[in-house]
Protein backbone atom coordinates (compact mmCIF):
# COMPACT_ATOMS: atom_id res chain seq x y z
CA UNK A 1 0.00 0.00 0.00
CA UNK A 2 2.78 2.34 0.83
CA UNK A 3 4.70 1.24 -2.20
CA UNK A 4 1.80 2.20 -4.45
CA UNK A 5 1.68 5.68 -3.09
CA UNK A 6 5.38 6.05 -3.48
CA UNK A 7 5.33 5.04 -7.11
CA UNK A 8 2.79 7.69 -7.93
CA UNK A 9 5.23 10.48 -7.58
CA UNK A 10 7.91 10.46 -10.24
CA UNK A 11 10.97 12.59 -9.89
CA UNK A 12 10.78 14.05 -13.34
CA UNK A 13 7.25 15.33 -12.79
CA UNK A 14 8.39 17.79 -10.18
CA UNK A 15 8.89 21.27 -11.43
CA UNK A 16 11.61 23.58 -10.15
CA UNK A 17 13.15 21.50 -7.39
CA UNK A 18 13.78 23.73 -4.40
CA UNK A 19 17.22 24.24 -2.92
CA UNK A 20 17.46 23.16 0.64
CA UNK A 21 18.12 25.93 3.11
CA UNK A 22 20.72 26.23 5.86
CA UNK A 23 19.36 27.47 9.15
CA UNK A 24 21.44 29.14 11.84
CA UNK A 25 19.97 29.94 15.25
CA UNK A 26 22.17 32.02 17.53
CA UNK A 27 21.52 32.72 21.22
CA UNK A 28 17.79 32.84 20.68
CA UNK A 29 15.64 34.00 23.57
CA UNK A 30 11.89 34.31 23.64
CA UNK A 31 9.73 35.71 26.41
CA UNK A 32 6.00 36.05 26.72
CA UNK A 33 4.43 38.71 28.87
CA UNK A 34 1.31 37.49 30.61
CA UNK A 35 -0.62 39.58 33.12
CA UNK A 36 2.47 41.60 33.80
CA UNK A 37 4.58 38.53 34.52
CA UNK A 38 7.34 37.54 32.18
CA UNK A 39 7.56 33.98 31.04
CA UNK A 40 10.87 32.88 29.59
CA UNK A 41 9.85 30.28 27.03
CA UNK A 42 13.12 29.80 25.16
CA UNK A 43 16.57 30.45 26.54
CA UNK A 44 19.86 30.68 24.67
CA UNK A 45 19.00 28.36 21.81
CA UNK A 46 21.99 27.71 19.53
CA UNK A 47 21.46 25.39 16.61
CA UNK A 48 22.92 25.05 13.13
CA UNK A 49 21.02 23.03 10.61
CA UNK A 50 22.67 22.01 7.36
CA UNK A 51 20.99 22.17 3.97
CA UNK A 52 18.92 19.04 3.46
CA UNK A 53 19.30 17.90 7.02
CA UNK A 54 16.46 16.32 8.99
CA UNK A 55 16.40 17.40 12.62
CA UNK A 56 13.98 15.92 15.14
CA UNK A 57 13.08 17.80 18.30
CA UNK A 58 11.79 16.02 21.36
CA UNK A 59 10.99 17.40 24.77
CA UNK A 60 8.43 17.63 27.51
CA UNK A 61 5.04 19.18 26.82
CA UNK A 62 5.23 22.94 27.23
CA UNK A 63 8.99 23.24 26.82
CA UNK A 64 8.63 25.58 23.87
CA UNK A 65 8.91 23.33 20.82
CA UNK A 66 5.95 24.86 19.05
CA UNK A 67 7.17 28.31 19.95
CA UNK A 68 10.55 27.58 18.39
CA UNK A 69 8.89 26.50 15.16
CA UNK A 70 6.65 29.57 15.14
CA UNK A 71 9.74 31.73 15.43
CA UNK A 72 11.54 29.92 12.62
CA UNK A 73 8.55 30.15 10.33
CA UNK A 74 8.37 33.86 11.04
CA UNK A 75 5.03 34.17 12.78
CA UNK A 76 6.55 36.09 15.63
CA UNK A 77 9.05 38.85 15.11
CA UNK A 78 9.47 39.69 18.76
CA UNK A 79 12.51 37.74 19.96
CA UNK A 80 16.14 38.25 20.92
CA UNK A 81 19.01 36.65 19.06
CA UNK A 82 19.34 35.64 15.43
CA UNK A 83 17.55 33.23 13.19
CA UNK A 84 19.19 33.11 9.78
CA UNK A 85 18.01 31.17 6.76
CA UNK A 86 20.81 31.08 4.19
CA UNK A 87 22.33 34.03 6.06
CA UNK A 88 19.16 36.10 5.76
CA UNK A 89 17.55 37.08 9.10
CA UNK A 90 13.97 35.89 9.54
CA UNK A 91 11.58 38.64 10.48
CA UNK A 92 8.38 37.53 8.82
CA UNK A 93 6.88 34.60 7.02
CA UNK A 94 8.02 33.54 3.59
CA UNK A 95 7.05 30.96 1.02
CA UNK A 96 10.53 29.51 1.53
CA UNK A 97 9.38 28.14 4.85
CA UNK A 98 6.46 25.78 5.21
CA UNK A 99 4.87 24.48 8.38
CA UNK A 100 2.47 21.75 9.43
CA UNK A 101 0.77 23.01 12.57
CA UNK A 102 0.23 20.89 15.63
CA UNK A 103 -3.52 20.99 15.09
CA UNK A 104 -3.97 20.65 11.37
CA UNK A 105 -5.36 24.22 10.95
CA UNK A 106 -7.16 23.37 7.74
CA UNK A 107 -9.60 26.12 6.84
CA UNK A 108 -12.99 24.60 7.60
CA UNK A 109 -14.76 26.46 4.79
CA UNK A 110 -12.54 24.99 2.10
CA UNK A 111 -12.46 21.50 0.67
CA UNK A 112 -9.28 19.43 0.86
CA UNK A 113 -8.49 20.48 -2.68
CA UNK A 114 -9.02 24.16 -1.96
CA UNK A 115 -7.03 23.92 1.25
CA UNK A 116 -4.05 22.52 -0.59
CA UNK A 117 -4.51 25.01 -3.42
CA UNK A 118 -4.49 27.72 -0.77
CA UNK A 119 -0.71 27.35 -0.54
CA UNK A 120 -0.43 28.20 -4.24
CA UNK A 121 -2.70 31.24 -4.20
CA UNK A 122 0.06 33.79 -4.36
CA UNK A 123 2.28 31.83 -6.74
CA UNK A 124 2.50 32.98 -10.31
CA UNK A 125 1.66 29.66 -11.91
CA UNK A 126 -0.83 28.75 -14.62
CA UNK A 127 -4.11 27.40 -13.26
CA UNK A 128 -3.54 24.02 -14.91
CA UNK A 129 -0.17 23.66 -13.24
CA UNK A 130 -1.69 24.51 -9.85
CA UNK A 131 -4.40 21.91 -10.42
CA UNK A 132 -1.83 19.31 -11.37
CA UNK A 133 0.27 19.96 -8.31
CA UNK A 134 -2.73 19.83 -5.99
CA UNK A 135 -3.89 16.53 -7.46
CA UNK A 136 -0.38 15.13 -7.21
CA UNK A 137 -0.14 16.01 -3.55
CA UNK A 138 -3.58 14.67 -2.76
CA UNK A 139 -2.35 11.38 -4.17
CA UNK A 140 0.86 11.68 -2.25
CA UNK A 141 -0.92 11.64 1.08
CA UNK A 142 -3.44 9.02 -0.03
CA UNK A 143 -6.51 11.23 0.02
CA UNK A 144 -7.55 10.63 -3.59
CA UNK A 145 -11.25 10.07 -2.91
CA UNK A 146 -11.52 13.09 -0.64
CA UNK A 147 -10.52 16.04 -2.81
CA UNK A 148 -13.96 17.58 -2.48
CA UNK A 149 -14.48 16.77 1.19
CA UNK A 150 -14.66 19.45 3.86
CA UNK A 151 -12.35 19.13 6.89
CA UNK A 152 -15.27 18.22 9.15
CA UNK A 153 -15.79 15.13 7.03
CA UNK A 154 -12.24 13.92 7.60
CA UNK A 155 -10.83 11.89 10.45
CA UNK A 156 -8.08 13.46 12.52
CA UNK A 157 -5.40 11.54 10.65
CA UNK A 158 -6.81 12.40 7.25
CA UNK A 159 -6.92 16.07 8.17
CA UNK A 160 -3.32 15.88 9.31
CA UNK A 161 -2.32 14.31 6.00
CA UNK A 162 -4.13 17.05 4.10
CA UNK A 163 -2.19 19.59 6.15
CA UNK A 164 1.06 17.86 5.24
CA UNK A 165 0.09 18.03 1.57
CA UNK A 166 -0.66 21.73 1.93
CA UNK A 167 2.73 22.38 3.46
CA UNK A 168 4.54 20.42 0.77
CA UNK A 169 2.74 21.65 -2.30
CA UNK A 170 4.63 24.90 -2.73
CA UNK A 171 7.96 23.15 -2.20
CA UNK A 172 9.47 25.23 0.56
CA UNK A 173 13.23 25.26 1.15
CA UNK A 174 12.66 24.29 4.71
CA UNK A 175 9.73 22.42 6.15
CA UNK A 176 8.70 22.58 9.80
CA UNK A 177 6.53 19.85 11.20
CA UNK A 178 4.85 20.19 14.59
CA UNK A 179 3.87 16.70 15.71
CA UNK A 180 2.53 16.01 12.24
CA UNK A 181 1.76 12.37 12.91
CA UNK A 182 0.54 12.74 16.47
CA UNK A 183 -3.10 12.05 15.68
CA UNK A 184 -2.50 8.97 13.57
CA UNK A 185 -2.90 5.30 14.28
CA UNK A 186 0.29 3.23 14.42
CA UNK A 187 -0.03 1.79 10.92
CA UNK A 188 -0.72 5.05 9.12
CA UNK A 189 1.97 6.57 11.19
CA UNK A 190 4.63 4.13 10.06
CA UNK A 191 3.43 4.52 6.51
CA UNK A 192 3.68 8.30 6.67
CA UNK A 193 7.06 8.15 8.35
CA UNK A 194 8.32 6.27 5.30
CA UNK A 195 6.58 8.80 3.08
CA UNK A 196 8.25 11.68 4.88
CA UNK A 197 11.59 9.98 4.55
CA UNK A 198 10.99 9.49 0.84
CA UNK A 199 9.75 13.04 0.27
CA UNK A 200 12.75 14.30 2.07
CA UNK A 201 15.30 12.40 -0.01
CA UNK A 202 13.42 13.32 -3.12
CA UNK A 203 12.94 17.04 -2.41
CA UNK A 204 16.16 17.32 -0.53
CA UNK A 205 14.52 20.04 1.53
CA UNK A 206 15.60 20.78 5.07
CA UNK A 207 13.15 19.49 7.64
CA UNK A 208 12.62 20.11 11.33
CA UNK A 209 10.12 17.90 13.05
CA UNK A 210 8.77 18.12 16.58
CA UNK A 211 7.51 14.83 17.92
CA UNK A 212 6.68 13.11 21.18
CA UNK A 213 7.56 9.75 19.71
CA UNK A 214 11.25 9.12 20.31
CA UNK A 215 11.33 6.18 17.93
CA UNK A 216 9.94 8.41 15.20
CA UNK A 217 12.54 11.04 16.02
CA UNK A 218 15.34 8.53 15.66
CA UNK A 219 13.85 6.86 12.60
CA UNK A 220 13.72 10.10 10.62
CA UNK A 221 16.29 12.40 12.14
CA UNK A 222 19.89 12.93 11.17
CA UNK A 223 20.09 14.51 14.57
CA UNK A 224 17.74 14.50 17.52
CA UNK A 225 17.55 17.64 19.65
CA UNK A 226 16.45 16.95 23.21
CA UNK A 227 14.96 20.01 24.86
CA UNK A 228 14.72 20.73 28.57
CA UNK A 229 11.84 22.66 30.07
CA UNK A 230 11.46 25.78 32.22
CA UNK A 231 12.90 27.66 30.54
CA UNK A 232 12.99 25.82 27.24
CA UNK A 233 16.58 25.16 26.17
CA UNK A 234 18.59 22.58 24.31
CA UNK A 235 19.65 19.82 26.62
CA UNK A 236 21.46 17.54 24.26
CA UNK A 237 21.89 16.90 20.56
CA UNK A 238 22.18 13.25 19.50
CA UNK A 239 23.53 12.37 16.07
CA UNK A 240 21.99 9.34 14.41
CA UNK A 241 24.70 7.88 12.19
CA UNK A 242 22.55 5.10 10.71
CA UNK A 243 21.90 4.80 6.95
CA UNK A 244 18.39 4.95 5.52
CA UNK A 245 16.10 3.06 5.43
CA UNK A 246 16.61 2.40 9.10
CA UNK A 247 15.78 -0.81 10.81
CA UNK A 248 13.81 -0.09 13.96
CA UNK A 249 14.67 -3.53 15.30
CA UNK A 250 18.43 -3.14 14.98
CA UNK A 251 20.52 -2.93 18.06
CA UNK A 252 22.13 0.40 17.16
CA UNK A 253 18.73 1.97 16.58
CA UNK A 254 17.37 0.76 19.87
CA UNK A 255 20.44 1.88 21.73
CA UNK A 256 20.07 5.46 20.51
CA UNK A 257 16.35 5.41 21.19
CA UNK A 258 16.79 4.16 24.75
CA UNK A 259 19.45 6.69 25.48
CA UNK A 260 17.21 9.57 24.43
CA UNK A 261 14.31 8.11 26.33
CA UNK A 262 16.41 7.90 29.45
CA UNK A 263 17.46 11.49 28.90
CA UNK A 264 13.86 12.61 28.67
CA UNK A 265 12.64 10.73 31.68
CA UNK A 266 15.70 11.75 33.64
CA UNK A 267 16.52 8.12 34.54
CA UNK A 268 20.03 7.12 33.61
CA UNK A 269 19.95 3.64 34.93
CA UNK A 270 21.50 1.79 31.98
CA UNK A 271 24.44 -0.54 32.65
Amino acid sequence: MSGGAMARLDDDKRSEPSHPGALAIKSLNKRYRMDGRILQVLQDIDLNILPGEFVSIVGRSGCGKSTLLRLIVGLEADYDGDILLDDQPIRSTSLDRGIVFQDHSLLPWMTVEQNIGFALLTLDLPESEKKRRVAEHIDLVNLSGFAKAYPRELSGGMAQRAAIARALVNEPKILLLDEPLGALDALTRIHLQRELQRIRTQNRSTMIMVTHDVEEAVYLGDRVVVMDANPGRIGRVVTVPLPHPRDRGSRAFQHIRDEILADLTGAHDTD
Binding site: L75, F118, Y150
Partner: protein
Amino acid sequence: MLTLSRFRGFVLPIALIMLWSALSHRDAAHSFIFVPLENVVASAREMFLNGELSRNWTASLIRTSSGFAIGSGIGIAVGSIMAISRFADRLINPLYQAVRQVPLMGFIPLISLWFGNGESSKLFIVSLAAFYPMVLNTYEGLINTEKKYLSVASVFKLGRWRTLRYVTLPSALPSIFTGLMQATAFAWLSSVGSEFFFNPGPGLGNMMLNAQAAFRMDAVLLSVIAIGVTGFGMNFLVQRASRVFLRWRSTR
Protein backbone atom coordinates in the same frame (compact mmCIF):
# COMPACT_ATOMS: atom_id res chain seq x y z
CA MET B 1 -49.07 4.41 21.82
CA LEU B 2 -45.82 5.64 20.47
CA THR B 3 -47.49 7.11 17.43
CA LEU B 4 -50.14 8.73 19.57
CA SER B 5 -47.63 10.35 21.84
CA ARG B 6 -46.13 12.08 18.84
CA PHE B 7 -49.24 14.20 18.66
CA ARG B 8 -49.03 15.45 22.22
CA GLY B 9 -47.91 18.82 20.91
CA PHE B 10 -51.26 19.31 19.24
CA VAL B 11 -53.27 18.82 22.41
CA LEU B 12 -52.77 22.31 23.79
CA PRO B 13 -53.44 24.26 20.58
CA ILE B 14 -56.53 22.17 19.88
CA ALA B 15 -57.76 22.63 23.43
CA LEU B 16 -57.25 26.37 23.14
CA ILE B 17 -59.11 26.51 19.87
CA MET B 18 -61.96 24.50 21.35
CA LEU B 19 -62.08 26.76 24.39
CA TRP B 20 -62.10 29.75 22.09
CA SER B 21 -65.03 28.53 20.04
CA ALA B 22 -66.92 27.44 23.14
CA LEU B 23 -66.57 30.97 24.50
CA SER B 24 -67.46 32.52 21.20
CA HIS B 25 -70.81 30.78 21.10
CA ARG B 26 -71.85 31.68 24.62
CA ASP B 27 -73.29 35.13 24.14
CA ALA B 28 -72.88 38.32 22.18
CA ALA B 29 -70.47 39.91 24.65
CA HIS B 30 -68.16 36.95 24.39
CA SER B 31 -68.39 36.59 20.65
CA PHE B 32 -67.22 40.17 20.32
CA ILE B 33 -63.78 39.26 21.64
CA PHE B 34 -63.71 35.53 20.98
CA VAL B 35 -64.92 35.84 17.43
CA PRO B 36 -66.21 32.60 16.02
CA LEU B 37 -63.43 30.98 14.01
CA GLU B 38 -65.73 30.61 11.04
CA ASN B 39 -65.88 34.42 10.94
CA VAL B 40 -62.08 34.58 10.75
CA VAL B 41 -62.14 32.11 7.88
CA ALA B 42 -64.91 34.05 6.20
CA SER B 43 -63.12 37.37 6.50
CA ALA B 44 -59.94 35.73 5.29
CA ARG B 45 -61.83 34.58 2.21
CA GLU B 46 -63.37 37.97 1.72
CA MET B 47 -60.15 39.92 2.11
CA PHE B 48 -58.31 37.47 -0.04
CA LEU B 49 -60.88 37.68 -2.80
CA ASN B 50 -61.21 41.46 -2.82
CA GLY B 51 -57.44 41.76 -2.90
CA GLU B 52 -57.16 43.69 0.33
CA LEU B 53 -55.03 41.08 2.02
CA SER B 54 -52.53 40.79 -0.79
CA ARG B 55 -52.38 44.56 -1.29
CA ASN B 56 -51.52 45.20 2.34
CA TRP B 57 -49.29 42.20 2.60
CA THR B 58 -47.31 43.27 -0.46
CA ALA B 59 -46.93 46.81 0.86
CA SER B 60 -45.52 45.60 4.17
CA LEU B 61 -43.30 43.10 2.45
CA ILE B 62 -41.89 45.61 -0.02
CA ARG B 63 -41.11 48.02 2.78
CA THR B 64 -39.47 45.22 4.73
CA SER B 65 -37.30 44.06 1.88
CA SER B 66 -36.18 47.54 0.86
CA GLY B 67 -35.49 48.50 4.46
CA PHE B 68 -33.71 45.24 4.99
CA ALA B 69 -31.58 45.73 1.88
CA ILE B 70 -30.65 49.29 2.83
CA GLY B 71 -30.11 48.64 6.53
CA SER B 72 -28.21 45.41 6.28
CA GLY B 73 -26.15 46.66 3.34
CA ILE B 74 -25.02 49.73 5.22
CA GLY B 75 -24.69 47.63 8.37
CA ILE B 76 -22.34 45.16 6.73
CA ALA B 77 -20.32 48.01 5.28
CA VAL B 78 -20.04 49.86 8.59
CA GLY B 79 -19.28 46.67 10.52
CA SER B 80 -16.55 45.76 8.05
CA ILE B 81 -15.01 49.20 8.09
CA MET B 82 -14.93 49.09 11.88
CA ALA B 83 -13.31 45.68 11.80
CA ILE B 84 -10.72 46.62 9.19
CA SER B 85 -9.71 50.06 10.32
CA ARG B 86 -8.78 50.71 13.89
CA PHE B 87 -9.37 54.41 13.42
CA ALA B 88 -12.91 53.89 12.17
CA ASP B 89 -13.49 51.47 15.00
CA ARG B 90 -12.57 54.01 17.63
CA LEU B 91 -14.62 56.66 15.93
CA ILE B 92 -17.78 54.70 15.18
CA ASN B 93 -17.96 52.05 17.87
CA PRO B 94 -18.73 54.32 20.84
CA LEU B 95 -21.37 56.16 18.84
CA TYR B 96 -22.92 52.92 17.73
CA GLN B 97 -22.96 51.53 21.24
CA ALA B 98 -24.52 54.74 22.55
CA VAL B 99 -27.20 55.09 19.89
CA ARG B 100 -28.08 51.42 20.10
CA GLN B 101 -29.15 51.84 23.71
CA VAL B 102 -32.19 53.83 22.61
CA PRO B 103 -35.06 51.44 21.99
CA LEU B 104 -36.09 51.50 18.33
CA MET B 105 -39.53 52.83 19.15
CA GLY B 106 -37.93 55.72 21.03
CA PHE B 107 -36.75 57.21 17.74
CA ILE B 108 -40.22 57.35 16.24
CA PRO B 109 -41.29 60.76 17.55
CA LEU B 110 -37.97 62.28 16.52
CA ILE B 111 -38.07 60.77 13.06
CA SER B 112 -41.64 61.87 12.65
CA LEU B 113 -40.75 65.47 13.47
CA TRP B 114 -37.62 65.56 11.37
CA PHE B 115 -38.62 63.50 8.36
CA GLY B 116 -42.40 63.62 8.43
CA ASN B 117 -44.98 60.91 8.78
CA GLY B 118 -44.80 59.39 5.34
CA GLU B 119 -43.54 56.17 3.89
CA SER B 120 -39.92 57.33 4.01
CA SER B 121 -40.03 57.57 7.80
CA LYS B 122 -41.33 54.02 7.99
CA LEU B 123 -38.58 52.91 5.68
CA PHE B 124 -36.05 54.67 7.87
CA ILE B 125 -37.19 52.79 10.97
CA VAL B 126 -37.09 49.48 9.12
CA SER B 127 -33.60 50.18 7.81
CA LEU B 128 -32.44 51.12 11.27
CA ALA B 129 -33.89 47.90 12.67
CA ALA B 130 -31.93 45.86 10.13
CA PHE B 131 -28.82 48.00 10.54
CA TYR B 132 -28.15 47.37 14.23
CA PRO B 133 -27.74 43.59 14.24
CA MET B 134 -25.81 43.65 10.97
CA VAL B 135 -23.15 46.05 12.25
CA LEU B 136 -22.61 44.10 15.42
CA ASN B 137 -22.53 40.65 13.91
CA THR B 138 -20.37 41.62 10.95
CA TYR B 139 -17.89 43.36 13.20
CA GLU B 140 -17.79 40.57 15.74
CA GLY B 141 -17.46 37.91 13.09
CA LEU B 142 -14.60 39.67 11.38
CA ILE B 143 -12.52 40.52 14.43
CA ASN B 144 -13.01 37.16 16.05
CA THR B 145 -11.37 35.21 13.28
CA GLU B 146 -9.41 32.45 14.89
CA LYS B 147 -5.77 33.29 15.21
CA LYS B 148 -4.59 29.99 13.82
CA TYR B 149 -6.32 30.64 10.52
CA LEU B 150 -4.67 34.04 10.27
CA SER B 151 -1.36 32.30 10.94
CA VAL B 152 -1.99 30.00 8.00
CA ALA B 153 -2.72 32.97 5.78
CA SER B 154 0.45 34.61 6.96
CA VAL B 155 2.56 31.50 6.35
CA PHE B 156 1.37 31.44 2.74
CA LYS B 157 1.93 35.18 2.33
CA LEU B 158 -1.65 35.91 1.40
CA GLY B 159 -1.56 39.63 1.92
CA ARG B 160 -4.29 41.85 3.26
CA TRP B 161 -7.00 41.53 0.65
CA ARG B 162 -6.56 37.85 -0.07
CA THR B 163 -6.63 37.16 3.66
CA LEU B 164 -9.87 39.06 3.88
CA ARG B 165 -11.34 37.23 0.92
CA TYR B 166 -10.25 33.68 1.75
CA VAL B 167 -9.91 33.68 5.52
CA THR B 168 -11.52 36.49 7.46
CA LEU B 169 -14.71 36.79 5.45
CA PRO B 170 -15.60 33.10 5.35
CA SER B 171 -14.82 32.75 9.01
CA ALA B 172 -17.15 35.67 9.73
CA LEU B 173 -19.93 34.21 7.61
CA PRO B 174 -21.71 32.29 10.39
CA SER B 175 -21.85 35.43 12.46
CA ILE B 176 -23.02 37.46 9.48
CA PHE B 177 -25.83 34.99 8.93
CA THR B 178 -26.84 35.29 12.56
CA GLY B 179 -27.04 39.01 11.90
CA LEU B 180 -29.10 38.51 8.75
CA MET B 181 -31.49 36.31 10.67
CA GLN B 182 -31.97 38.94 13.35
CA ALA B 183 -32.16 41.69 10.76
CA THR B 184 -35.01 40.05 8.86
CA ALA B 185 -36.94 39.49 12.07
CA PHE B 186 -36.46 43.06 13.23
CA ALA B 187 -37.16 44.52 9.81
CA TRP B 188 -40.42 42.64 9.56
CA LEU B 189 -41.74 43.55 12.97
CA SER B 190 -40.68 47.17 12.66
CA SER B 191 -42.23 47.36 9.21
CA VAL B 192 -45.59 46.32 10.60
CA GLY B 193 -45.08 48.25 13.83
CA SER B 194 -44.08 51.48 12.10
CA GLU B 195 -47.51 51.63 10.51
CA PHE B 196 -49.01 52.19 13.93
CA PHE B 197 -47.07 55.38 14.40
CA PHE B 198 -47.04 57.17 11.08
CA ASN B 199 -49.56 58.21 8.43
CA PRO B 200 -51.94 55.47 7.38
CA GLY B 201 -51.03 53.75 4.14
CA PRO B 202 -51.27 50.25 2.78
CA GLY B 203 -49.81 47.55 5.01
CA LEU B 204 -50.71 44.79 7.41
CA GLY B 205 -50.28 47.09 10.41
CA ASN B 206 -52.81 49.52 9.04
CA MET B 207 -55.14 46.74 8.11
CA MET B 208 -55.00 45.72 11.73
CA LEU B 209 -55.59 49.27 12.99
CA ASN B 210 -58.58 49.67 10.69
CA ALA B 211 -59.98 46.40 11.90
CA GLN B 212 -59.49 47.53 15.48
CA ALA B 213 -61.25 50.80 14.78
CA ALA B 214 -64.14 48.91 13.20
CA PHE B 215 -64.25 46.50 16.16
CA ARG B 216 -63.59 43.57 13.86
CA MET B 217 -61.65 41.06 15.90
CA ASP B 218 -61.81 38.57 13.04
CA ALA B 219 -59.79 40.89 10.82
CA VAL B 220 -57.35 41.68 13.65
CA LEU B 221 -56.75 37.98 14.16
CA LEU B 222 -56.34 37.46 10.47
CA SER B 223 -53.65 40.16 10.36
CA VAL B 224 -51.86 38.66 13.33
CA ILE B 225 -51.84 35.26 11.66
CA ALA B 226 -50.61 36.74 8.38
CA ILE B 227 -47.81 38.54 10.22
CA GLY B 228 -46.79 35.42 12.12
CA VAL B 229 -46.81 33.17 9.09
CA THR B 230 -44.85 35.63 6.98
CA GLY B 231 -42.28 36.12 9.70
CA PHE B 232 -41.91 32.40 10.02
CA GLY B 233 -41.51 32.05 6.25
CA MET B 234 -38.83 34.72 6.07
CA ASN B 235 -36.90 33.16 8.89
CA PHE B 236 -37.16 29.82 7.17
CA LEU B 237 -35.74 31.26 3.94
CA VAL B 238 -32.75 32.85 5.63
CA GLN B 239 -32.09 29.66 7.55
CA ARG B 240 -32.16 27.70 4.31
CA ALA B 241 -29.78 30.12 2.68
CA SER B 242 -27.43 29.93 5.62
CA ARG B 243 -27.44 26.17 5.45
CA VAL B 244 -26.34 26.34 1.82
CA PHE B 245 -23.63 28.90 2.45
CA LEU B 246 -22.38 27.31 5.65
CA ARG B 247 -22.47 23.70 4.63
CA TRP B 248 -18.81 23.38 5.56
CA ARG B 249 -19.74 23.82 9.18
CA SER B 250 -19.91 20.80 11.40
CA THR B 251 -23.46 20.13 12.45
CA ARG B 252 -23.12 19.53 16.11
